[in-house]
Amino acid sequence: MGPSCCGGRDVTLRNLTTQPCRTACVQIYLPIAGLPVDIFLVLAMGLAVGFISGMFGIGGGFLMTPLLIFIGISPAVAVASVASHIAASSCSGVISYWRRRAVDLALGLMLLAGGILGTAVGVWLFTVLRGLGQLDLTIGLSYVVLLSTVGGLMISESVRAILRQQQGKPVTPRRGGAHTWVHGLPLKMRFKRSKIYVSAIPVWLIGFIIGFVGAVMGIGGGFLLVPMLIYFLRVPTATVIGTSMVLTLITMASATVMHAATNHLVDAVLALILMIGGVIGAQFGARAGQNMRGERLRLLLGLLVLAVGLRFAFQLVVQPDDLYSLRVMGAE
């Protein structure tokens, strides 16, 4: 269940997961979420999302949060606990990319500078929207628009690249002189690891957008950051994922601390199970990603992002099973 129906715990599924089930399953009670879940189900979810996050260098929040809400965990606890899961997956990813010298730390820190400001503005807008009372719809619509657009663009770009390749035309290598308007901006900086020489302004701007979108939509923003770095800054595919993970690690670790300090909604037990699955999955994902061609990887990620976007659109358009939903005040 997505944010559009955050209040509605999916009853049938919740019963499936909270009741003693047919196959051998170990129930564990989550102290903050306040309900028992099947430990292997959560572990498997962590593994699957971790694999995807390691492969594409994304946090996977846009997949994990809806999954947790789907098994009956309240949206607020889900969002808060997912942050620490993403931190763990991306930490494991950062280390393995670091060893392969595929992390541009300077670029990551510059992005972070813009990201912090973006997060602050995003949190402010979040509060305003919540006051207006249509936060759920806003989030649902922005998921649809953002995910469908980004997914569609990535698919069309990567399909064209793959077709070009199959027609035997050499893939145009990145030429040093191929400048766009982005390269005409002042405050130029050289990022050695990525072999790029760009203005700091678009770097800050991208960081700002990611921080802003992340705070408003409750996602890490990795799936946005990776294509932005590739298309606007021409960061080579080799370093883009590792660098994006550095940003995700720092933002999500601080998000965990902030969520815990302000809302007291981080479920450490849930987070630990997700983390263990997540880091193992991320290791295999990172390996699978390294062995894959860049444009194939982008096509797959584009398909995944588009699919999630369409899923949200479907949810908004199709009549829900239950028109009514309950939410305890104060728990949100």
Partner: protein, 262 residues
């Protein structure tokens, strides 16, 4: 003189009897199998057993001893709950209407030995709020607080959703009369039962009238590790957050060490 004394004695006795035995001529004694439900890491719901005896104290009461009916009501901690309804606007389903239920029981179980219409007349059933549908449910209506009719869609769907979550239940065969004066009821608590105090209210009816009632309570508490985590999250938020973030980083680091190939 003796006659006067006799009259006075009779009058005094009559007063004493009238005063000492108001309508109640039954003594109700109840006992719960436990007063504390501990929520541990493998908590997956449980049930509490309620035993009770009805002791008729007067000859009058003894005559109706074969006609006792018992209604047990368990009320969980109170919560303010918002109910939302989705409507289609410009082709998109979105939350449009909402209703706030004030101090609604998070958990509500009504158990009886037979259907309410056989226990008392509809008027009494409504007055005593026996069934879940009869319970007074204060709602925020504009600036007012009140309860709408039981046919109201928001109210009916509120009860339906709560029942689906296994937090509201009504069983008209939930109380077993082992003998005409001894009864037993099993109070089921689902895994998602909220933490807090639960009130158990037992009402005894005979021939359609309420005779007596008794109250007791139990609590659902987190213990051990669960309580430690919950307390830490609440009382030491920042430290808890830092610990969780460190745990995330350590887990990530540990995995990369374990899976290191080169």
């Amino acid at each position: 003189m003796t006659i006067r004394l006799a009259i006075a004695t009779v009058a005094l006795l009559a007063v004493l009897i009238m005063g000492a035995t108001p309508a109640v001529a039954e003594r109700l004694v109840t006992s719960l199998s436990r007063h504390q439900v501990l929520v541990t890491s493998n908590f997956a719901g449980t049930s509490i057993v309620l035993f009770g005896t009805i002791e008729p104290d007067s000859p009058n009461a003894r005559r109706r001893a074969s006609a006792y009916d018992v209604v047990v009501t368990v009320t969980g901690p109170k919560q303010n709950i918002v109910e939302r309804r989705k409507e289609r606007v410009l082709g998109i389903w979105t939350n449009m209407g909402s209703r706030t239920f004030l101090n609604a029981p998070s958990y509500l179980a009504v158990l009886s030995n037979q259907p309410f219409d056989q226990i008392a007349n509809p008027e009494t059933v409504r007055q005593q709020q026996l069934g879940i549908a009869d319970k007074l449910m204060p709602q925020l209506l504009g600036n007012d607080v009140g309860d709408v009719g039981r046919d109201d869609a928001f109210r009916a769907n509120f009860i339906r959703l709560k029942t689906q979550h296994q937090l509201y239940l009504q069983r008209t065969n939930g109380v077993t009369l082992l003998t005409p004066t001894v009864f037993r009821a099993e109070l089921p608590l689902p895994a998602g039962a909220p933490i807090g105090n639960y009130d158990v209210d037992v009402k005894v009816f005979a021939h359609g009238a309420l005779l007596t009632r008794a109250n007791s309570a139990f609590e659902v508490v987190k213990v051990g590790f669960e309580q430690f985590v919950a307390n830490a999250a609440q009382d030491y938020g920042l430290l808890y957050g830092l610990t969780t973030a460190m745990m995330a980083i350590m887990t990530g680091w540990f995995a990369s060490v374990v899976f290191r190939r080169d």
